[in-house]
């Protein structure tokens, strides 16, 4: 059983409707992009879940480490002036 190949790991992203973001659905094993695409179609879109599929070799995905979240996302935490609610509008101002 040692020589048995299980092929490569690919991550699958499905867009449910044109214009919407692609969302991670899971992964498939495949030897090449064509097989990855067919497997993704068969496994993740049996009920019209998608209008478009991305498959990406899993080894090409890098993820941030949640333990680093404080440091990583710190620059966005103290800039409340990036939010529109930070600004005081004059009484009676409309459509702004």
């Amino acid at each position: 059983m040692a020589t048995d190949t299980q092929l490569d790991l690919w991550e699958v992203f499905i867009q449910s409707k044109s214009g919407l973001p692609y969302i991670h659905s899971g992964s498939v094993h495949a030897s090449d992009v064509k097989m990855a695409m067919q497997n993704a179609r068969d496994i993740y879109t049996r009920r019209g879940e998608g209008t478009s599929i991305w498959v990406v070799p899993a080894k090409h995905i890098s993820a941030s480490n949640p333990d680093d979240n404080d440091m990583l996302f710190d620059p966005s935490n103290d800039k409340i002036y990036r939010h529109p609610t930070f600004y005081v509008m004059p009484e009676g101002a409309k459509n702004i």
Binding site: D4, L7, S25, D32, I43, R47, N65, P66, D67
Partner: protein
């Protein structure tokens, strides 16, 4: 690496209702429990295709055959969602399959019972998928992100599985005396094994404490079993099926049904490999896995060949 500070931090994330993702810190026990539970779940989906697959060529109509094919194809898909979710924990598909084939990993013991006639296909969809759904609905809120997402997807697909089974049972109960007797016979054989699918009583299930603390399991075996019983008995009565238990009754005060004790000796016998079909199920899996090896080898060879060609033309 065991780290007390990290374990406390991990538990507080769980207590806050956060999901744990693949690359997050997790205690070894949490990882091990997930690998065991999720792989068992994946193996059950795949092995569960066998008793039903047995009836594809003998389905009583084209409609029934199409439905059964679609249902079994879904189960294969469920196995794959789950395998890919377990793989995020750092275990390979080859290891998982080896654990199944050597008997190191278990699958749900319900699939070691044979599907003897068409009524069994009804009983399996209605009772076995019905029990699985109760468990899986609860697991949608499990703390491990990839497992939880696989469960959400699976639950969406399961509802037709149970309904097609109940439809078969209903049709037979509206049929001839013989058909009614077949449906009742299937009910008699599948009822108790379905209740055993939820596992031992809480008082006898040693690992369930950690699983609840880590929110891998959100409800206990007995809580889930009771939900299934309360849902299913009225469905049986509605179509005229008898519960194969002289002592079952509705407790008016609690609104829950109570039953005779479950025969756990049978459960342990089947889990430990002595059910009617244990050997047949594994032999079948091993045979087709081995016979399919050339497809995987050919795919690898094709990949290498096309990669070389691209190198030359680049």
């Amino acid at each position: 690496m065991h780290n007390e500070h990290s374990d406390t931090h991990f538990q507080s994330r769980i207590d806050n209702g956060e999901h744990i993702e693949a690359k997050d810190y997790m205690p070894e026990g949490y990882r091990k429990h997930l690998i065991r539970q999720m792989s068992q779940h994946a193996h059950s989906e795949v092995i569960g295709m066998q008793p039903e697959g047995n009836w594809i060529t003998r389905a009583p109509s084209l409609r029934a055959k199409q439905i059964l094919l679609a249902k079994i194809q879904d189960e294969g898909g469920h196995g794959l969602y789950l395998y890919s979710a377990v793989e995020t924990l750092g275990v390979s598909r080859a290891e998982l399959i080896e654990q199944l084939q050597t008997g190191k990993a278990k699958y749900s013991s319900i699939f070691n019972y044979p599907a003897l006639n068409w009524a069994d296909i009804g009983a399996i969809g209605w009772l076995v998928d019905g029990a699985a759904i109760v468990n899986q609905v609860s697991l949608q809120r499990t703390s491990y992100g990839p497992y939880s997402r696989a469960m959400v997807r699976i639950c969406k697909e399961e509802s037709f599985h149970q309904r097609q089974g109940y439809e078969i049972m209903t049709t037979m109960m509206r049929g001839t005396k013989d058909q009614q007797a077949m449906a009742q016979d299937a009910m008699n054989r599948w009822w108790w094994p379905s209740l055993m699918m939820f596992g031992p009583h809480d008082s006898d299930s040693p690992r369930s404490g950690d699983a609840v603390k880590w929110k891998i399991k959100r409800e206990t075996n007995d809580e889930l079993r009771q939900k299934f019983i309360d849902k299913t008995i009225p469905q049986a009565e509605l179509i005229g099926l008898t519960i194969p238990d002289k002592n079952f009754k509705l407790d008016e005060k609690t609104g829950h049904y109570t039953l005779s004790p479950i025969n756990w000796e049978e459960f342990h016998r089947v889990v430990s490999g002595h059910g009617p079909c244990n050997k047949q199920r594994l032999d079948h899996h091993i045979k087709y896995h081995q016979e399919g090896a050339w497809v995987r080898e050919a795919a690898e060879a094709y990949k290498l060949k096309t990669a070389k060609k691209e190198l030359v033309t680049a």
